[in-house]
Symmetry: C2
Subunit: 621 residues, 2 copies
Amino acid sequence: MRVWSVFQSDPIFSPPKIPMNTEEEKRLTAKQLVNFLFSGLFDGIHDMCYREKTLYLMAINEATEMFNPNLSIKFALGISLFSNALLCLGTERHLPYYYDVWGGKILSCLAITELAHGSDTKRLKTTATYDHSTQEFIINTPGIEAAKCWVGNLGKQCTHALLFAQLVCSGSCHGLHGFIVPIRDPKTLIPYENLTVGDIGEKSGLHGIDNGYIMFHNYRIPKKNLLNKTGDVNDDGEYETEFSDPQRILGAALESLSAGRVAIMQESCNSISKAVVISVRYAAQRCQFSDSNGIELPIIEYQTHQWRLFPYVAAAYAIKSFVQKFSDQYISCVVQSQDGQMDVDQTSLMVSGVHAIVCCSKSLITWTCRDAIQESREACGGHGFHKAARLGDLRNNFDPRVTFEGDNTVLLQQTMNWLLRCTSVNEDYYSFFPLTCIKYLQNSKQILGRRFNGNRLEHVICHSFISQTYEWLVCWLVKATCERIDVLKTQEDDKFKIRNFSQVFRGRTLALAFAESNILMYFWDHCNTCDDELAFVLKKLYYLYGLWSLYKHIALLYQGGFSSSSSLSELISEGILVLCSELKPEVVSLVDAIAPPDFILDSALGASDGKVRYKWHVHVQ
Amino acid sequence: MRVWSVFQSDPIFSPPKIPMNTEEEKRLTAKQLVNFLFSGLFDGIHDMCYREKTLYLMAINEATEMFNPNLSIKFALGISLFSNALLCLGTERHLPYYYDVWGGKILSCLAITELAHGSDTKRLKTTATYDHSTQEFIINTPGIEAAKCWVGNLGKQCTHALLFAQLVCSGSCHGLHGFIVPIRDPKTLIPYENLTVGDIGEKSGLHGIDNGYIMFHNYRIPKKNLLNKTGDVNDDGEYETEFSDPQRILGAALESLSAGRVAIMQESCNSISKAVVISVRYAAQRCQFSDSNGIELPIIEYQTHQWRLFPYVAAAYAIKSFVQKFSDQYISCVVQSQDGQMDVDQTSLMVSGVHAIVCCSKSLITWTCRDAIQESREACGGHGFHKAARLGDLRNNFDPRVTFEGDNTVLLQQTMNWLLRCTSVNEDYYSFFPLTCIKYLQNSKQILGRRFNGNRLEHVICHSFISQTYEWLVCWLVKATCERIDVLKTQEDDKFKIRNFSQVFRGRTLALAFAESNILMYFWDHCNTCDDELAFVLKKLYYLYGLWSLYKHIALLYQGGFSSSSSLSELISEGILVLCSELKPEVVSLVDAIAPPDFILDSALGASDGKVRYKWHVHVQ
């Protein structure tokens, strides 16, 4: 892949040889960004169609994130997401910014979150009030709690912000709109007057990103800086919007809402792979303790170690196959909606469905990845704590993903809402993507009648058990959540409170269980497209990921009456151990197959030749 | 407490105002150590008796660790543990080192772990071969895999190592012994010849500690540097050991093995408290989303948020009450064994029992604390990722505890072994501490006959349900583990392998379930010593921690036939939610009660006055 050669050929991208403080890391990342932008990777980008361009940028993002998450984020915020948003929300008059940002003349940031409000975007308080006398918007921050903050690139380096503020015109507020707001002189990087802007200081990771805050003190920008695709101020100084083409608005919303989360899922695939590659390779060559004959065993031979790591190897495969296919479907949806191939109803159904699936999948995947990284770190023992093991940096740089682009806990509620709404949708719609994923909800009554009567391992280590049990679980959780809501309705009028008190053990679990079942469905389909030899191993990974995920829900399987026999728990747990043991010979070669190019793991603890390459050996002279 | 005023009065202890790299952090910690040692805190230390001195040093360690974990670890490795080990393993001839280290003339490190072996200490390969002709030991490192590594203080600053090496004399190896080995000239800190010594480089946390590696190239030290309490080389050059006083050896072993883990448990109490104090205070004042009347709610009002955090508040209390009482019992045991108040059998029973309880408790507590920190970080949303929230540093500095002083996974096996051995111990011994903790194993048969038939919340929110269910669970897991071992015996001769393949869902879970039940037992006893008003709240925390912990084992409760009714899972989960909701008004005041002094949390996100004090507000001018 061309991006690797860029990183390999320019020493600016090499990991620093001496310890750096966070200020130095920020400067380094800024320099890297310039070389990255002018590396030639993006030369043909403006001639590509939407699909081609998106896939190309996604691939580059994945590769870059794997190598240097600071750089990929800096690039996304400063260039690719900004230029994307311009095309989505702006019109022809904004095209110069598009070319300037790709030409390295300006650098952007996306200013949405405020100090007091992140998830609840409706409460954002920054205003952009139209002054017809000067044809300007006056941007103002009403108080410290409305300071834009956490904005990546804003701390020290951006020249322009894509600002989201409440548009006020003729005394009325028309909701959040996007504006292009100059922040710093592109030549000197000195901030303009009437702004209070700076860096928020040190964080737990992503030290190369200059996250910043800003307060606007009646700061004026030209009227034309409003991104006016969905609404504008006319020559009379009145706000106007045309709803004649709503699917385009919806499509735009889908694009800007979901794209970031899809990217996070793609990045997570690589993060989980990196983590398990490091820990499994280490386990294959690290020996500790000996059997009764005095022969030292590689720690991968230990049951506990297999059980700790192999389910994450399985998860890495399951997630990867889901994300690849789903990303593709997602892009097709955007293209279809942009091309006007869907009617309003279809677009609306598609947008809400894709959003719901992205919400629960992003949550499940980032949490799984978080846990895989920590388990890998611990499975490498003390050595896992060394910087050269890369697991500490991986953890700290990965960590924000569980709360950014939507806090996972908040996102899960969106999926729950969608699933409950879908129970009353027109039957015909179930043949329409992505409602195809929950077609089985139609047969809920029949599914809830299922009972487990197995008594042998092959009754659980099979596709039908896993898929049917998950169908039962999702249907039961839909029913149980609805019942909980009904009970709450007799005690409480406030819909908001009712929803909040039907989350734990109910709506929240429903969203996660649905995400698991959906990923498993995609993974199974993928297994069946592979040749027999590969499918044989992949299916074992499918069973392992399926049983391991189901084991977390056993309480509900008993609680809902899916089984009252001890054999359910016994067989699932036994199945997990048997699969781990059977997979042992495969896993080492599997992790090599999913490993990113060698040089990325150069400094990782384990290496593909099975020998330890402790980077810090070089200190020993 | 006097230690706070030391930290407050000397600016060297203030958190650095500008970003530092890891080299700078190491230098700062070294300077802090000097001021700490000469702060006057340790002036009377040599006149204290063992009990008084140990409690005093433990208290100082706890406070220091809370404030600055780098300093507490540097002090422990460099001074307190070293001087302790000298008294334990050395004799009068080593006293000068004792006074030198307390006098700041020398600084030590504890060199045990080698590159290829940590947990398996029997395989350590560094040798100390006695040369009778010169009355010296020749220390040698046979290969890179035997390089001592990860040794704190060794990287740059220590002058002496307390080295553990295989003592070879007259051609025979007599096992690991402790030696005092000069490493650097105390005046210049230049290493002596025939040593390859250096810093292992950057880590994921504890950046203030200079962890190092060392290889010895036939490096000679005087014979008298052998710590000779348990064995020595006589004037004829022969190795001698006297086993006439074995309980003293055992007592010494107990002291040196368990003391570090007890300290980790004490430190964990503070770490979990810090984490939940930060996240609960934040939740009490952070508002997000509004009810149907448009009133914004503090996020602590949300069911999901309560369920995420309150069990960790309960765990903080449960763990604290266990660790306080158990530490005291532990010190009493050491004193009794040192004073010769126990016979050999009693000492041996006590040593192995205390070791087993420490092993599983250290594992459970550090994992619980790890999870509490991460949940707290996520519960603070994006702001939890800021350095000022302290949760990132807390996570990275706490993290090594799950693998150091015994990898948790390895430690759990020790507890399992002990529990299985105890099933065949003489009945009389059950009245002897710490076997009192598992007295109920005697009634295993009767306990395993218990069944759950409850159908109301009060049947699970009560002491008898929690304690009796845990007794059942521990007894069942003992039985199930033995059965698994018996089955494996029919397939496999190797005892080592049999043990390894009876861990997951069995021995490992047994050790953790026992640790939980034991902590709950201590916590309940503590609740009953408090006045009614306090006990009322503490008991709710007991129920919450109990039910929340039991919920994780529901699969086994069904699998073992403790219940086949859906109400078990239903009532436990409902009980958790009811307790969370009931505890809400209390929790905010509770976290203030466990909060460390205010200035420690100065830069934390939430503050006791209920207002946000984002430290980085100072940037906004």
